[in-house]
Every structure is written in C-alpha cells, then in structure tokens.
C-alpha cells in the first residue's frame, strides 16, 4: 500500500516535469485549463487566418470554442460559489431584476384567448439553470401561468449536467416545462424558425466566437414580436468607480479563483473577456444591425454599468 503510494507520487513528479510531451487524464486542478489549451490543436483543414480574441490573447476562430469549453468544464461545479464570491452576491440581484423586468408568463385571467399556451422561452448559455428556474418561478407564482416552457441550451455538457442535477430540487424536473439541449448558439438547427417568444442569454454572449451570427440565429428562431434579452457585463460609466472595479476584477477575482476553485487561468480569462466585450452603445448597434427594434435607449445599466441588460424586439412584418 505504502509502496504503491510512493510509486504514484514519484510517477506524478515525473509527469509534472515532462508535462509538455505526455498527455494525461483531465482532472480539475490549478491551471488545468491552460494545459488543456496547450494540448488542443486546431482541426485540420481549417483556414488558420481568421482570428478572434480569447481574453487578451488572439487565437484562431476555430480554437476559441474549444478554449471556452475547457474554461467552463473546469468551473462548472464551483460556478455558483464563485459567482457569489466574485460579485459579492450581487449577481443574484441582477438575475432577479432581469427576470422580473421581462415578466414572463401570461396570466390566464387577463388573456382573453382560451388557447393561450404560455411562453416558449429559449435560455441560451443557461447550463446551470439559474435563469430558467427563475423564469418558471416567476411565470407560475406571479402570473399563474402553468404552461410557460423553458428550453435550456448550452454548448457545454458539464454545465448542462450541473443544471440537470439542480433541476431535481425544483418542481419542474421531469415535466414538459423544462428541457435541456446541447447546442451552439450560432447554429440552432434543432429550433425551428419563428417558434420562440423570448430568447435570453445571461452572461454567455461574451464567450461566443461570432456574436453577429448568434444574433442572426436569435432573429431567425424568434416569432415576430418576440424578444431578445441579454444580461451581460458591460462598461462602467464613472471613471472613479471604474478604477475601483478594475482593481477588484484584475486583482481579486483571479486570486479568488485560485483559492476557491483551484483554477486561476479560467478566472483570468473571465475578467479579460469582460474587458474585451463591446460597450453598451456598440452592442446596441449590433442588435439593431441584426434587425431588432430596441426599446428606448436600448439598454439598462446595472450597478453603475458593471452589467447591462440589452433588449431587442423582432418587428412584425408589415407593421413597422
């Protein structure tokens, strides 16, 4: 027994020293995501000249998806604890506000048509179900709507597994009201055209390789009059507050990631990707270019612009 342990330790040392050449089983540990990234090679036959950014790095477009997948596979289990620590719990307030403002669900007492069948909601990048459960709770308890359905789509099977596990603690597990699919937001082939009332993406669109393609796909799957709603980190308005916030995000968040989740690089990517995301006005213009009507100025700042809610409404043909 003792001998075997020593042997194992020795083997591990050997592995660490020669990690560049020897592949090993993926497991979650400090800086495991960067090792993953080093090992992955771009698929053959891809034109390697189209690039995008992964945090502050510039990588080939074909690589970003894999790199993001590695990040989220490694953070899936500690996702909630980390969110609480990084945002000091404020992310819950943002998500609650996001859902309350969207007001999902149709009250059967005030909707005159007897065939009303609730809203068909698609929650993109909602693997852990944070938004989906809130939507269903809001529809059921506030609008007395027992028909509204949420389809949770995520590109990452680990995040989906986390969501499925959590769904067991809600009343919606194993009901037709909640569904999980593994999908890339840029190619939602399993979702038919004009079938969705509300498309939400909370803290996800930042990681997409081609945001414009995702917006076009959102426009395709939404019914005329359907709503695109996005909760995402954005740019802080006040320069003084911005200095404090930058200090926190670049100083504290990777450190918390290292101590709690044992993974500094994933959280370094997180803060860098926030920095790279377009500002409120730029993203508003992207939404408009995809064909949406934007309400008012097009976005709502949360906590001084740390996060922002962007909305767009798909116009009804011949009515606008």
């Amino acid at each position: 027994m003792n001998v075997s342990t020593t042997k194992l330790l020795g083997r591990r040392q050997l592995l660490l020293s020669t990690r560049a050449t020897i592949r090993r089983e993926p497991y979650r540990c400090f800086s495991c995501s960067i090792r993953h990234a080093q090992q992955t090679t771009p698929p053959p036959g891809e034109p390697g000249n189209r690039t995008t950014h992964f945090g502050f790095e510039t990588v080939a477009e074909a690589m970003k998806e894999k790199k993001v997948a590695t990040v989220f596979s490694s953070v899936a289990s500690s996702y909630d604890t980390m969110n609480d620590l990084m945002s000091l719990g404020i992310h819950r307030l943002w998500k609650d506000h996001f859902v309350r403002n969207l007001n999902p669900g149709s009250n059967p007492l005030t909707s005159r048509s007897p065939t009303a069948s609730g809203w068909n909601i698609l929650d993109i990048a909602g693997g852990t179900g944070d938004i989906a459960f809130r939507m269903l709770d809001h529809a059921s308890t506030l609008n007395h709507d027992a028909h509204t359905r949420v389809t949770v789509a995520d590109i990452n099977p680990d995040m989906l597994a986390e969501g499925r596990k959590r769904a067991l603690n809600t009343p919606y597990a194993r009901t037709p009201r909640l569904d999980f699919v593994e999908a890339n937001a840029e190619h939602l082939d399993m979702i038919p055209d004009a079938s969705i009332d509300l498309y939400t993406v909370a803290f996800g669109i930042r990681n997409f390789t081609d945001k414009d393609a995702a917006l076009r796909e959102a426009f395709r799957v939404l019914k005329p009059g359907g709503v695109f709603a996005c909760l995402e980190f954005s740019k802080v308005n006040s320069s003084l507050f911005d200095a404090v916030y930058k200090r926190w995000s670049f100083g504290a968040i990777p450190l918390i990631g290292q101590l709690v989740a044992g993974d500094r690089d994933s959280y370094q990517y997180l803060v860098e990707s926030i920095e790279k995301f377009p500002s409120q006005t730029e993203f508003r213009d992207m939404i408009q270019r995809a064909g949406f009507l934007v309400p008012g100025q097009g976005w709502e700042d949360l906590t001084g612009g740390i996060a922002a809610i962007h909305k767009g409404v798909k116009p009804v043909e011949g009515k606008s």
Partner: protein
C-alpha cells in the same frame, strides 16, 4: 495620425447613431416644418391599441399586453416599453399635446372684423379642450392611476417635463410672443393651474364637467389677480426706489 483616426471614429459613431435613432423630440416650435414623429411605428401600433383597453383595464401592464396582442404582437413584445404602464401614460400625454393644434382653431386675426380674442381667452379655451379630451377618450375615470404613476419619484422628472411642454404648447398656440421674464412666470402659473384642475377633474361628478370649467375659471382669475397684485407691487417698489434715489441726489449724494 491618432487624432485623425479618433476623429473619424467619432464621426462614424455619431453618424451611426443618427442613422439608427432619428430624433424624436425638438426643443423649439417651428411653424413651417412638422415635428418628427415622437414614436416609432411599432410603438404607436401597440400603444394606440393599448389605449383602447384603458377604460376597462386602466393604465396597467394588462392594457399594454392586450394592446400588443391586438396589434399582432406577442405578450413578450411589451418589453419594448422599459417603463411599463408609464410609457402608456406618456404616449397619451404626448399624442394629446400634439393633437391640440388641430383640435382647437382660432379665427385668423387678419380677417379682423369680429372681436379679437385675447391671449388669456385663448389659453382658457386650450386648457379646457385638453381637459375635455380626457373625458372624450374615456380615460378620466382612470386618470387617478395615471397621476399616481406620474408622481412616482423616478418618473416625476419625465412627468414634469411633459407638463412644461404642454404649458409651452398652449402659450405658443395662443399666440403669446413674450420674450421677457414673464415667459417663465406664464408657463409656471399655467402648469400649476392646469395640473390642479386635472386633479379636480378626477373627482368631478357634474354633467359635462361644469364644475371643472368653473374651477378652471376661478383659478385663472386667481392667477390674474395674483399677477396683477405682483405687478402693482413691482411698480410701487420701482417708483418708490426711483423717487428715493432722486431725493438723495437732490441732497448732493453721489449715486
């Protein structure tokens, strides 16, 4: 080099903005060009349909949802209105303000002959026409709800701005051309009187809103009396001041 690229970027950004969002408000009156439409076609379609539900459902999100459905949109489409029911109130206020210039017509002054209508009389007619519109559209029974929404602290600035625009519109349509300090006092006093009358109207049970009319006349008279009194006081202060200065000068004081 850096400056020129920055300038170019600013220019493209500003041109993009002007392309994407046409101006919806104008801060002045222009007699020869119509103002830009204040609402986009989709917003107008939903809000005007929603207004038809106000007598039954009030200024609520329910009216908005029913209106959206009537206009061919979904329940979810009410997310087009970030301020919810207040956007419905705002739509009503703006459209009624803009309708005022078509609903009230004064005979052209150059036609002459008949008695010339004073500016005060015209303002009274305009205020009364605007109040009667509340009854004609059928929202007067629900106006208390609208006033409650308008009085919410976060919405109060927008409501007061709209009230100021209404007072300005009335004085403009009445043909007031004052460019002195009375420009402000006129608008302030009319806004006060109008909002007081609007509150009175929500409780008015008389036929044809006769009591509201009497209330408005009494307040306008008060306003004139107060204005006349303040004018008198000002005249007296000015005269006494001048006299005092002259008396002192005659005594050899260098003023």
């Amino acid at each position: 080099m850096a400056t020129s690229t920055r300038l170019a970027r600013t220019l493209t950004r500003s041109s993009l903005r002007s392309l994407s969002k046409p101006p919806t408000t104008r801060r002045y009156h222009a007699a020869d060009s119509p103002p830009p439409p204040p609402f986009s076609p989709a917003e107008s379609a939903i809000l005007s349909a929603a207004l038809a539900h106000v007598p039954a459902n009030g200024f609520t999100s329910t009216s908005l949802r029913l209106g959206a459905r009537d206009a061919g949109y979904l329940d979810a489409s009410t997310n087009l209105f970030p301020r919810g029911a207040f956007d419905l109130v705002n739509y009503y206020l703006v459209t009624q303000r803009l309708a005022l210039k078509d609903s009230v017509q004064f005979p052209a002054e150059s036609a002459g002959g008949g008695a010339r209508i004073g500016v005060g009389k015209k303002v009274r007619t305009l205020a009364l026409a605007r109040l009667r519109a509340n009854a004609e559209v059928g929202v007067v029974g629900r106006w208390g709800e609208a006033l409650a929404l308008m009085a919410q602290p976060t919405l109060l600035p927008a409501s007061l701005a709209e009230l100021a625009r209404l007072a300005d519109e009335m004085w403009f349509l009445a043909g007031d051309t004052a460019v002195d300090a009375s420009w402000y006092t006129k608008r302030a006093s009319l806004a006060t009187i109008y909002s007081a009358t609007e509150v009175f109207m929500t409780q008015d049970q008389s036929t044809g809103f006769k009591d509201t009319e009497r209330f408005l006349d009494a307040r306008l008279e008060d306003g004139m009396r107060v204005g006349g009194f303040l004018g008198g006081v000002g005249e007296w202060v000015g005269y006494t001041g001048h006299s005092l200065v002259n008396v002192l000068r005659s005594k050899g004081v260098r003023i």
